[in-house]
Point group: C2
């Protein structure tokens, strides 16, 4: 590629009117500027502060067998983030709900990963003042994805702990779902170096915080614990508290030390991308007997059962695309 590019540079110095993009994009539908578009057209200017300053918030809801799962909780968090970032959209909650629904309906995906994004945008006068920016909304529906693949869901993930410290709340409010991931990406590379499949990084006190895109729970003596400090208040994490209550399992958000993690009876991670996913190795060493535990299995089963429960999910009307 280097050679071709160099050739291009030497051969022609003309400004081409339109960008020709040869990348592959997943099957899906996006919404931007009042237009429904194929994913290959869902692009933002490199001058949008959502990119240049990662000045954006977002949320991701999933669709399973034609139904949104807990959409309202995702919309609550998304609106909360926009308010704390002092961003405003030209759409109300009902309109955004309609847009998300239409992206899924137009995509035809029965199981989808649906993202709603608000970026600072940019200033029409090119000023550097974020108060003068026109905030922008983007949404898209792509095929459902999971942190853990089928095999990993069956045997449990091998997760490594990185010394990297999650960006603290004094710097960025973790309840604003954000794209500041360089700490998590560093943690992921650290984990790969140790032979792990994914990573957990630490909070400012050296306790376990979270991983790239997921919260973590430990099961000890029949009760659940998950880190309380400096983590994203995940919707799947929230669901685990709801499910635990339903089946009478004590669950609390507390500090979780590295030692407590290693001595757990069971460990699982939670994410909209995969739901409840078992972890059976930490730093290559088995968690308890190294098998997916009964509490984890029970919560996984219950979590997926809820996807057809009208209290927890809402149907997509795929005919609305005709």
């Amino acid at each position: 590629m280097a050679i071709t590019q160099t050739k291009t540079i030497e051969q022609s110095l003309t400004i081409e009117p339109h960008h020709v993009d040869r990348r592959r994009y997943p099957e899906g539908v996006a919404f931007m500027d009042g237009q429904y578009l194929p994913m290959s057209e869902a692009k933002i200017s490199v001058l949008d502060w959502g990119f240049l300053h990662s000045d954006a918030t977002y949320d991701t809801v999933h669709v399973w067998e034609g139904r949104f799962f807990r959409l309202n909780l995702h919309l609550d968090r998304f609106w909360g983030g926009m308010q704390r970032l002092r961003m405003k959209l030209p759409y109300d909650r009902e309109e955004v709900t309609k847009i998300l629904h239409n992206c899924v309906a137009l995509s035809g995906h029965q199981s989808a990963y649906v993202e709603m994004i608000c970026t600072r945008g940019s200033s029409p006068t090119f000023s550097r003042d974020p108060r003068q920016a026109e905030n922008r909304f983007i949404a898209f529906a792509v095929p459902y994805g999971s942190v853990a693949n089928k095999e990993q869901l069956d045997r449990g993930l091998n997760v490594a702990i990185s010394e990297t410290v999650r960006i603290p709340p004094k710097s960025i409010d973790p309840s604003i779902k954000n794209y500041h991931w360089l700490d998590l990406v560093k943690g992921l590379f650290d984990a790969y170096d140790q032979g792990g499949e994914s990573a957990l990084i630490l909070d400012t006190n050296g306790n376990i915080a979270e991983g790239p895109g997921f919260n973590v729970f430990i099961v000890k003596g029949g009760s659940l614990q998950t880190p309380a400090f400096g983590v994203l208040p995940g919707i799947t994490r929230h669901s685990v508290f709801d499910l635990a209550k339903e089946i009478g399992l004590p669950a609390e958000a507390v500090d979780v030390s590295r030692a407590e993690l290693s001595e757990a009876d069971e460990i699982f991670i939670t994410s909209t991308a995969g739901g409840i996913m078992p972890v059976t190795k930490i730093n290559g060493l088995p968690v308890a007997d190294g098998l997916v535990g009964p509490v984890t299995r029970r919560l996984m089963d219950l979590y997926w059962k809820k996807h057809s429960d009208p209290i927890w999910s809402t149907a997509i009307d795929y005919r609305s695309q005709q």
Copy 2:
């Protein structure tokens, strides 16, 4: 706008083949995928990890009166950041230099703000593994911009201190120039709320760190001090050390407390976007006599003189666009 958009949603539910973008873009030229493009075409997919995870590094060099200023220092920092993020480009340093030059030459700008960006990109298999991503390079040249406008450069900026803490090095290595700015944006809004024109935020120990896109210096008893911990090693900051040495001014990187800032004889900020810029008010109170100080003026003059010095700058060949 909300109304129009709602109409769009209700009227048509068709997928349009191409995005129609009505935004305004600055005059400039970008380079992506071997193509030179107008700024309006310089867009990245919302699925690029450079956006979704702010997994990117960049650098910005400026062109003044047809000459790059200290381009090599910017290239050094850019390559250092890519290496620490384990990113690779299909271009070597010589090719990137050529691309940056061509963006400026094609834009015709005599004074430009020139950005080079490396993003993680995305995985052609849509995997979540950053090791499988195809990193991508983007460059662009737009008109030169400054943190401080003409009036502010003459009378000095009014800067407010925010309690927000800059993302610490344990989370993200500040020597990797990055787009993680939500802490700086929060600081900026805090400053606006206090009537300030820009902001300074703190380090994890409560000392002064930096502001949105700039480092800060204080002048006390004829010597210069700038925060040492957790700040971007700015090229203009670097230049101030070089200039201070040239004129025999002592300069050191140390902890700078809020008290030391308030009691300074002079204060200035440094950025590629504006160079050396005077600060004459902190939280609305005058710095010393509230006038731009002699040391600041002397350094500003010297800084701009260096822009025609071949040791500090290199000429653009604008004919290369023909």
